[in-house]
């Protein structure tokens, strides 16, 4: 390590040790003016987070230099990850979350200025490294914040997808999958997987995909449907698409989508009748029924 860096670290480390209490007080004051969301976080909580941040900052500077990816900064990274995770969940904005770290600049710079008042060179270098350090910590906070949000969004998407694809057994060997809402790629993938898994599980030869509840069918949706039908066929099951409204039939033809190879029916009951036929069953009125009625 070169001597300059050593000195600088010693400088910053000393400031963090000696002025700890005044830094903390200044910082909390700073935050109460800008980022503290008293509606979302208690002052005592913020105070203990800030105190811990200061302590870990000093530890990091003392032992590992300014590279926050290093092992010495591990506890700091954990603290920031925890802070941004909880902030993301509490409803802080990314700016508010990062400002927790960045707002420390003002009190820290003030302390640096006081200490290096007479040495302009050292002051400039010191300020630069402090700002670089805090920036990288701030960015790290943002990154974790976004990761947390992403995870939340992904989980919700998955939950929603699972909820929205009920496969129902209509008869031995006949499944139905009523689709409600818009079909996009992600959803179709889930629809496809759920349907095919159910085909295997229930040993069903015929599956009816009912699209009565699908508002529009564009080229992409039609292709997805086709893929599902083809995949089911590869496994040895037949698909019937039902609930094709006149308007959708028109769109399909106008778009030039070839559904010739797919059996389509206007209603679910038509499809069910066909499915029964294909599995070798038929529906008929028993004479008993009329007898009961008159009796």
């Amino acid at each position: 390590m070169d001597k300059g860096l050593q000195n600088r670290q010693a400088g910053l480390s000393e400031i963090l040790t000696k002025d700890e209490s005044s830094l903390l007080a200044d910082w909390l004051k700073e935050m109460s003016g800008s980022v503290r969301r008293s509606d979302l976080i208690k002052e005592s909580e913020l105070r203990s987070e800030s105190a811990l941040f200061l302590k870990l900052l000093r530890q990091g500077v003392d032992s590992g230099g300014y590279d926050i990816d290093g092992a010495a900064w591990q506890p700091m990274r954990e603290l920031l990850a925890e802070i941004s995770r909880s902030r993301a969940q509490q409803g802080f904005t990314p700016t508010e979350t990062a400002t927790f770290v960045l707002s420390f600049k003002k009190p820290l710079f003030k302390a640096i200025r006081t200490r290096f008042e007479k040495d302009a060179d050292a002051l400039a270098t010191e300020l630069w490294s402090a700002t670089a350090l805090l920036d990288s910590l701030g960015l790290y906070t943002i990154e974790t914040y976004i990761k947390t949000r992403d995870a939340v969004i992904r989980r919700q998407q998955e939950e929603m997808l699972e909820l929205s694809t009920p496969v129902v057994k209509l008869w031995d060997g006949i499944l139905a999958l009523p689709i409600i809402g818009t079909l996009d790629s992600a959803r179709t993938q889930v629809v496809m997987e759920t349907l095919l898994e159910s085909i295997v599980k229930t040993n069903s030869k015929v599956a009816i995909i009912d699209i009565t509840g699908v508002p529009t069918v564009d080229t992409v949706v039609a292709q997805h449907l086709l893929k599902t039908v083809t995949a089911a066929r590869l496994m040895g099951a037949d698909c019937i698409i039902s609930g094709v409204r006149p308007q959708i039939a028109q769109t399909i033809v106008h778009l030039g989508i070839n559904l010739l190879d797919v059996t389509t029916k206007a209603t679910l009951s038509d499809a069910f009748r066909l499915a029964l036929q294909r599995t070798g069953l038929s529906l008929g009125r028993t004479s008993n029924h009329t007898a009961q009625k008159t009796a």
């Binding site: 976004i146 990761k147 992403d150 993938q189 997987e193």
Partner: protein, 133 residues
Amino acid sequence: MAVISSETIPVTSEPDIVFVRRRVRETAAQIGLSLVDQTKVVTAASELARNTLIYGGGGAMQLESLNGPRLGVRLTFSDNGPGIPDIQLALRDGFTTGSGLGLGLGGTKRLVNEFAIESKVGQGTKIIITRWK
């Protein structure tokens, strides 16, 4: 983006293709890809490994698992074969040279999230595919 693990597997014989499939499957399962996504990336690996062997005259696959922003698996196939003169044509569905092997790269491309190809005639081909969680 961080590389969690990396290994290089030679692709110089038919059993190598089987080994490529197995290692890609293990890695894809490790990072938690869904069963369908595992199957897609393993199938893509099988296709590309066969291309590397048959058209590239053998080569190697680098297998990496990635972290950031999401988990993923990245495969790099490289060979020093004759190269592909017309990449656009090779990406078209149903394209194949001569022997009737290979579906063309278009199908393989649909099995992964990212697909990159570099090829110089007379020098070789490099194909990089990534499947994210």
